[in-house]
């Protein structure tokens, strides 16, 4: 059963960038606010967010260009620096400044650099297999992943690509008429994210991470084949007081492949 690509209980829209751009935000849950920044393939509202929504009101913005209402909005975001400012404006427009933020992969790169640019924007920072750093000896394989054949992708993203949870992740809808639209949206989301990840998933964040003051949790799968787990150590080294957790036998998407363990780590960190 294919998970809803973007499936919050309701949608909010905020105007940013001197009213040049609208950003759509999927919202669900009850309790204190929490911000979630999705990965390069676009927002997928799965069980991780549903479970968090039991204790928090989850706000999940959709990267400009990845919402069906305006797929060309990405062309209004010229640089990564502009994207960070737009997101900062969005957080204030939503009234959620001071909430914790969780970012996965590309979303983690954004969350980390937002926390570096605006140290008091978020109360806590959770990074799930974040992109954003570059080590010559352990190059991320984001580039290869983008060019990979569809049948090769599960092995990039999951430690156990044949598991039920991996198969469910890649399942396509029963109705073949729906497939071109879904695949095209996924490819386009990668294209939009790619504006900031290509040719390297590195926008110079390393220079700025010393500015992060929010308590930080970094989670990596030990078998991450896109962002090797060594990047966890690198992030931990650069963010003072941060905590690194490596989940064994887990790939690039800990909150899907190892949902319970990830939830346990994240929930206890957030409530501490």
């Amino acid at each position: 059963m294919h998970a809803e690509v973007a499936g919050g209980a309701r949608e909010e829209v905020r105007s940013v960038w001197n009213d040049e751009l609208e950003i759509h935000v999927q919202v669900a849950g009850s309790g204190p606010p929490l911000v979630f920044l999705h990965a390069a393939g676009g927002l997928r509202w799965g069980e991780f967010l549903d479970r968090l929504a039991e204790s928090y009101t989850v706000y999940a913005p959709q990267l400009p260009g990845t919402h069906p209402s305006d797929q060309h909005a990405i062309h209004k975001v010229e640089t990564f620096a502009d994207l960070l400012l737009m997101y900062e404006e969005l957080v204030h427009a939503l009234g959620v400044a001071g909430a914790p933020v969780i970012g996965e992969s590309f979303g983690g790169m954004i969350a980390a650099d937002l926390s570096a640019h605006f140290p008091s924007l978020f109360s806590k920072l959770v990074l799930l297999a974040p992109a954003g750093l570059w080590l010559d000896d352990h190059p991320p394989r984001v580039f290869e992943l983008t060019a990979a054949k569809p049948e090769e992708v599960p092995a990039y993203l999951f430690a156990n690509p044949d598991s039920d949870v991996a198969k469910a992740f890649f399942a396509l809808p029963e109705d073949p008429e729906l497939i071109p639209g879904i695949v095209a949206a996924l490819v386009w989301a990668q294209g939009c994210s790619g504006k900031f990840l290509w040719p390297f998933p590195d926008q110079g964040g390393a220079k700025r991470l010393h500015r992060v003051t929010a308590p930080t949790l970094i989670v990596f799968g030990s078998e991450d084949r896109v962002m090797p787990a060594v990047y966890g150590e690198e992030y931990a080294r650069r963010i003072a007081g941060s905590r690194l957790e490596i989940i064994e036998d887990c790939g690039h998407i800990p909150h899907v492949e190892e949902l319970e363990r990830t939830l346990e780590l994240v929930s206890s960190f957030l409530s501490a």
């Binding site: 060019a147 054949k149 095209a184 490819v187 294209g191 790619g194 504006k195 040719p199």
Partner: protein
């Protein structure tokens, strides 16, 4: 009809299992596959074949740009074009020099392209055809490092800069998104006024065709995907759109590339060329990974959805790595035969689809230099003269042909200025 010789500088000495083991672009291991003297021989033969074509009466010669590519050793085709420009000038050959072309979507120095094309046009006495491709995705995005989603926007800005650099009456500042030059005042400028003709390669998507027709430029269809399958769709789309947009049916607005091999007879041609043509397709486009034609963001989301719903424009693309000679011939990806067969098949095709500019590829892949010379010679004597008269009866002007042609003087062209 104008008939141009299209040359690509393949490395001619790849192993027979190349297509099974390697991709032909980006990651192809140079040191494992290449020997120095054979690189020299491949490039040198390529130049000699282009010159032979010019000396044998072809209306034009053409080169293309590919970086990090085993089937076209041509990161900057302008280097080869300059040899052709000078040599044909000295030998007083009235040949169009076609660069198809430097990629404005890939380049981080778009002004350099404007400057190089200007140099070529000047060196050739105004015989340049300026090809302006967007750039293949693997080349612009993987080799060039350009984010796929920016490729077209960079192309458009680069084109605007090139056109302004060639036409502005005073030095100007260019504070663009993708390139910034405080003072633009290029020396030299092209001889041809207002500019050399623009030929635009494309895959035939509706968006690209509409832009090309809107600007009144030549749509150049470089197909490797079996024109019998893809041609009717693309060409009918082109002429339908031309009519909708109020453009006339002048065949010279359309250019098409065709691989051709001529022998004494059909059987002899198959014997001589069969193996080489098969390896040519398998080892070149056949070994470009599918993703390389459109990395995420390179094609607009509407285009991606359209292709997923209907693969028809892609023809034999998915099978090229293992394609057989027979299927290449059946889909007309290659025309292989004796002179009469070749004349007939080409004439039928170009007349049906109103093609006014034919780009013939007479060398491919492993074909040895001597065989290429034979092919060029036989084509030039037995086929070329029969094709060049096509469209004479319809009395169209060719608005997209270099104005330096037909203006040769011993000192070089003054007429185009």
């Amino acid at each position: 009809m104008k008939v141009l010789y299209c040359g690509q500088a393949a490395y001619r000495y790849l192993p027979s299992d190349f297509a099974q083991r390697y991709d032909s672009v980006v990651t192809t291991p140079y040191l494992d596959l290449v020997e120095g003297p054979k690189i020299y021989e491949s490039l040198h033969s390529h130049v000699e074949e282009l010159l032979l074509a010019a000396r044998s009466g072809f209306d034009g010669v053409m080169v293309t740009e590919h970086s990090q590519t085993s089937y076209d050793l041509s990161p900057n085709p302008n280097l080869i074009a300059s040899i052709l420009a000078h040599t044909t000038q000295v030998e007083q050959l009235d040949t169009a020099i076609t660069v198809l072309g430097r990629s404005l979507g890939k380049s981080r120095e778009p002004l350099r392209i404007a400057e190089e094309y200007a140099m070529l046009d000047a060196l050739s006495g105004g015989r340049l055809i300026a090809g302006l491709p967007v750039g293949l995705s693997y080349d612009a995005n993987q080799n060039g490092g350009i984010p796929p989603i920016e490729t077209r926007a960079r192309y458009r800005e680069g084109r605007a800069l090139l056109e302004k650099a060639w036409s502005a009456t005073e030095p100007f500042a260019w504070n663009g998104k993708y390139s910034r030059y405080p003072i633009v005042n290029i020396w030299p400028r092209p001889l041809q006024q207002p500019h050399p003709p623009f030929w635009i390669p494309g895959s035939g998507s509706p968006g690209t065709l509409s832009e090309i027709l809107g600007h009144d430029e030549v749509f150049t269809y470089l197909s490797h995907f079996g024109p019998k399958l893809t041609g009717p769709r693309i060409f009918n789309r082109f002429w339908d759109m031309a009519e909708e947009m109020g453009r006339d049916r002048n065949p010279y607005r359309l250019a098409f590339m065709q691989v051709v091999c001529v022998g004494e007879s059909d059987a002899e041609a198959e014997r001589l060329y069969g193996e080489h043509i098969q390896t040519h397709f398998r080892n070149s486009f056949g070994s470009v990974p599918q993703s390389g034609f459109s990395l995420p963001g390179y094609t607009d989301i509407r285009g991606v959805e359209a292709i997923l719903k209907d693969h028809g424009d892609m023809g034999i693309a998915g099978r090229l790595r293992e394609i057989s000679f027979r299927e290449l011939v059946d889909t007309r990806a290659a025309i292989v035969g004796g002179p009469e067969t070749v004349r007939e098949q080409i004439a039928e095709f170009v007349k049906e689809f109103r093609i006014g500019n034919l780009l013939v590829m007479l060398h491919g892949g492993s074909m040895p230099h001597e065989l290429a010379r034979y092919n060029i010679g036989l084509f030039a004597s037995e086929v070329l003269p029969h094709l060049q008269g096509i469209w004479d009866d319809e009395d169209w002007d060719h608005h997209w042909w270099p104005t330096g042609i037909g203006a040769q003087t011993p000192e070089g062209s003054a007429a185009a200025v």
